[in-house]
Symmetry: none
Amino acid sequence: MPSTPSDAVPLVAVLEEGPARRGRPPQPGLSETRREQIVSSAIEEFAERGYEATTAAQVAKRAGVGLGTVYRYFDSKREILDQVMERCLRELIDVVDAPALLEPPETLESLIARIRDLADALFGLVEDSPNVLKLLMVEASAIEDELGRRVMRGEQVLAGLVAEVLEHGILGGWLRKDLDPNAVGHSIIALTWPGLLRGLRVGQCAADRARYTDTIVALVSFGLCRPGTDGQAR
Amino acid sequence: MPSTPSDAVPLVAVLEEGPARRGRPPQPGLSETRREQIVSSAIEEFAERGYEATTAAQVAKRAGVGLGTVYRYFDSKREILDQVMERCLRELIDVVDAPALLEPPETLESLIARIRDLADALFGLVEDSPNVLKLLMVEASAIEDELGRRVMRGEQVLAGLVAEVLEHGILGGWLRKDLDPNAVGHSIIALTWPGLLRGLRVGQCAADRARYTDTIVALVSFGLCRPGTDGQAR
Amino acid sequence: MPSTPSDAVPLVAVLEEGPARRGRPPQPGLSETRREQIVSSAIEEFAERGYEATTAAQVAKRAGVGLGTVYRYFDSKREILDQVMERCLRELIDVVDAPALLEPPETLESLIARIRDLADALFGLVEDSPNVLKLLMVEASAIEDELGRRVMRGEQVLAGLVAEVLEHGILGGWLRKDLDPNAVGHSIIALTWPGLLRGLRVGQCAADRARYTDTIVALVSFGLCRPGTDGQAR
Amino acid sequence: MPSTPSDAVPLVAVLEEGPARRGRPPQPGLSETRREQIVSSAIEEFAERGYEATTAAQVAKRAGVGLGTVYRYFDSKREILDQVMERCLRELIDVVDAPALLEPPETLESLIARIRDLADALFGLVEDSPNVLKLLMVEASAIEDELGRRVMRGEQVLAGLVAEVLEHGILGGWLRKDLDPNAVGHSIIALTWPGLLRGLRVGQCAADRARYTDTIVALVSFGLCRPGTDGQAR
DNA sequence: TATGAATGAGCCTTCATTCAT
DNA sequence: TATGAATGAAGGCTCATTCAT
């Protein structure tokens, strides 16, 4: 798991494990384009209608290719979904996998700033790739155990990132020792969900985004208590 | 039913609105039993396989009735899902709709105790009604807008409860004024998700449950900062 | 076949032949009422929706009895149809089976008057028993060969009546010898169909009725030729 | 196509209106063939068993294609029926839509010859396309209002043709003025029904055909009266 | 290689018929 | 006797997948 600034890619590790990717394109360059094209169309269709309600023909049409072509590049509709989720995970990771975000903070303030940045990055997805986010958040887990687990693992990676940082802070002495880094990691990721879901449902506005970000920051800063002792953000 | 006088029946309100319940049972007692029986079977099947992947015949078989009987009591497979979700929402609400939980706290400590109780109540669902929880968390939103929205509203009710209490605390002066009660309400509910999901996936053990509960309590108590001033509960 | 005035009932003979009537009511008096009641309701439902599109439950509901009761008096939905058609044929025959109509005419004028009376009687059905007429004309033949044949036989009886009279006239010397009595009999019945169908479809008004009656009378009286002229063919 | 200048395309008009033809064939030539093939099979099956009693699978089997192929070219079983009836109407019209038949007669003799030709043309259908005729006469009206009306309109077109000619004759002074051209038009068409139905039921033989044709001609020529006499009505 | 026509297993739903009460 | 709940066979229709061109 990445913890050093020079180690910016390993997040992608989550993508390499799954048992997916049953079909392999014969020609790496040219036909990989086709796959991308089909996966892109599938993302839009699946996000719009859901996986089950989308037909392979709709995906083909959206991609501007024949139905047979889809089956030339994918063994089954299910494999398209696998690739779709892989791509979604990759986009999710790309968003987070930035050196700046991964820079380990050395103080509570910078940790909280990092969390704010993480939330910002995720909220950015609502605007930039709502379909990707929708598939990851609502569709993935409903499909099937195996796939749900893979997507879960995406969340785990994020949470793991946070957990590592927390551990770092605990070891460094500037974070409470009695916090469970893993549980807190998950919790911090979870704190972004309401804002993300709301953004997906009703559309995101700057005010909402700020409101949810501030709330996250406030909660991780000092909980619900009145500051007056300490721990404040922004 | 909520016991606060000023707070008549808001929780149950969410159940009264939906467009479900298209048919009318000819005999109140007998046929309501059948409906319950079929809905119960459907909950298990839907939770196991997902709504789309479950056939009406499977529901009938699980219920121990003929396929025709299912359609005697429900107009369509879709209406079964409506009833299933209604029942899930009701169970969710029943779990939370306890006088003790709804008692408005007057201090930060009692508020946090209430949050712990709420988390406890939800974690209890993992053991008592994992299927109900799974349907609410995983299946519902993937189905369709209208239904997803109804379930969302269930979450909103929960978050609203918390928000109300927060407002009470802000007015009472023992909570920070700059917190957005609604956003915080959602956030606190969201804090339970990682623990609930993990419980659903790998099964819940007492240690995990405590770990997640403590994390929630810790976060809402003082955030990530070192108590030195600290407000903490327990 | 009836040809004498004193022989007013044999028309009903057509009802006695068919292989229908599979079920027999246990009690002649009381339960015969039930059968009639169910058949009446079936006539309305079948006429409204067609035999195939009508469910046994609809018939039962219309009759104000339980579904089981229908099957107590009829072995199958199909048998209801048999009885329905029997009843329709009976009503058709009752309309024609009047001494006055059956009185054998002795002149062309009285023959034509008889034809006018026959047309009148049939047109009366449009107002008095449109459902009966509809079932006989549009539904019956579409169902099945056997049943269609029975209804056809009803038409044959009518045509046969006319044919007999024609033969009488030919023998009497006041009708052309080269007419085929049977074919002409059918033709005269057929002449009423357009008026009957129109009446069923758009509702009958007195003007239409007169128009069609006059046309029938005119055609059988002198064909298309101008009276005074003699039209000849072949 | 009618050759009278004042009478552009009325016959075909009946084909252009209906709400049928929902789908569009992707490839004009090839898929139109499939449609024809399926419609042809449907005509045979529907004529044999009736529309309701025929399953889509039976049509597919008869057409020698898979069930899915049927639904590739037709949205529903019902749409097949629409096309079937359209085709039947077209065949009916083609039979009558001959220049010779549409030539407006100038004398009673030629009018009657025209009627004989019309009857001949229709009786020809019994031998050439009995299924088409059966569907038009027996099945169509029983199906449903909208469709029944379309077929009715086919009959109206035929009757209208006759009516036009009659009007021509009345204006020309060689036909009685007091005949209602429309009613007589329908009546003349109706005169063919008994012969057609009998042909369909028991099979047509030359003798029957002649007998019915002669009867029609006789009736329209001079009614029932002995030529030389003039029959009068009313 | 790309296409889309062809296929049929499988699903939702209906409804005639039965039978316990 | 009357009822209506229960049943499951059967049909319309969809769509993932194949394969000839």
